[in-house]
Amino acid sequence: MINLNNVNVVYPTGTHAMKDVSLDVKDGEFLVIVGKSGAGKSTLLRTLNGLVKATSGSVKVFNKEVTTASKNDLRKIRSNTGMIFQTFNLVTRTTVMNNVLTGRLGEMSPFRGFFSLWSEDDKKIAMQALEEVDISEKAWTRASKLSGGQQQRVGIARALAQQPKLILADEPVASLDPVTSRKVMDYIKKINVELGITTVVNLHFLDLAKDYAERIVGMHDGNIVYDGPISNVSDKDFENIYGGQLTEDDFNDTRKN
């Protein structure tokens, strides 16, 4: 489903965020990418749906080349790729339902999208997505009134509403407290297991990575330094990925909030 081949990303500021990265992801996999902040995890995720343009190398998603895709092709790729953000990125001034419905925008004509002309099907799909994350009773509440965990569940529902083949989650629980983090990670894992949607998750916290991942990829300073099933990972490997001694900050459940 995903093929990265010798991908390099150099930002205009000069930062070399991804260095000769090669990676393959199969259909239905649940992949967790771990690493320190700035290791290149967010960049990698964003090369997959073209939000960040690879400076060199090939990025193939659904067997299509993202780096050279036309505007329309890119839209189609994105429409089939759901993304979940650390900062939720909901449209705060409107209802939860509307937020989830925006997930349908990739498959609607600009005219209908602009004037919110959702079809009955769109609405049904959105409602089902909300039920999938157990938050359908909040459908008509204004998004800004929800707690962090609730907002992220809406974010997941929005991604689901796209009926995607791939879901990318960029540090989805970094802004949430430990208990809520686990609840949200449960939903993300459930979607992968029940609906078979390929999922790539960036995580900063090791205990979460150990508990949810099937396969772990470790990134350090723009390079992939580890790639293997979770059962093979040792604490020494983690230390290498993080480039030194592990601290309290690298574990989710020791957080005070």
């Binding site: 790729i77 994105r78 953000f85 925006t102 925008l105 600009p110 999208g113 602009f114 796209q162």
Partner: protein, 260 residues
Amino acid sequence: MNQSRTIKIFKYSIYILLSVIVIWSSNNLSITWDRFINSFPQIAKILTLMFPPDLSSEMLTRVFIKLEETIWIAWVGTIIGIVFSIPFGYFASSNLFPSFIWGPFKTISVIIRAIPELIIAYILIPVTGLGALTGTLAIGIGTIGTFGKWQSELTEEIEYGQREALMAVGASSIVETRWAVIPQILPSLLSFYIYRFEINIRASAILGLIGAGGIGAELLGQFFYRDYPKAGTVVLITVIVVIIIDQISSKIRNKIIEGQ
């Protein structure tokens, strides 16, 4: 220590500069201290002649009719400003478009904004004649500049995350704007529209002074005929009406910022 000395030198040179300007200007404009001091009592005298104002029903009717026209000019002018400024502000946003697009639009907005409405009306008079239409067009054009610049500034301050999410969903750029940009700027923008309406009422009152419709001409006429009480009426009623409208629009603006 050195820093406070430089500040002191800076301060003193500013004072010297200011004094030079004052002396040079007053010389050029032939202003003496005498003339200056005496002007204030002279002005006060005229102000006192304006009260008590002429509150006859004949005068009051005249004033209200002209005030109504003034408000209509401001309203239609503001609407024209809103309608035409939306594309302007859109294309002038530096975070939405490359510089060869937003550059010209922003520049045009800034230039239009810089030209006072009075001048715009002045230039329009030979084209559209004296009267309310000219005033409306002048206010409309001036308002386009203001709204365009304001809208682009609001757009440039929004958080990127919501836009990123819309892009990630596969929405085309106009749809992305509608869902990520517009909800974020709408309350501020609407509030500004209403605020500008208040200002435009004052502006259209003034435009009357050069014949572009509205109450200004009435005021000028009364002064011309030295009928100060009548002039006082014009001022009094105008001030009252403007204050009332200000209050109403403040309430509406607060409701917008809270709720929607």
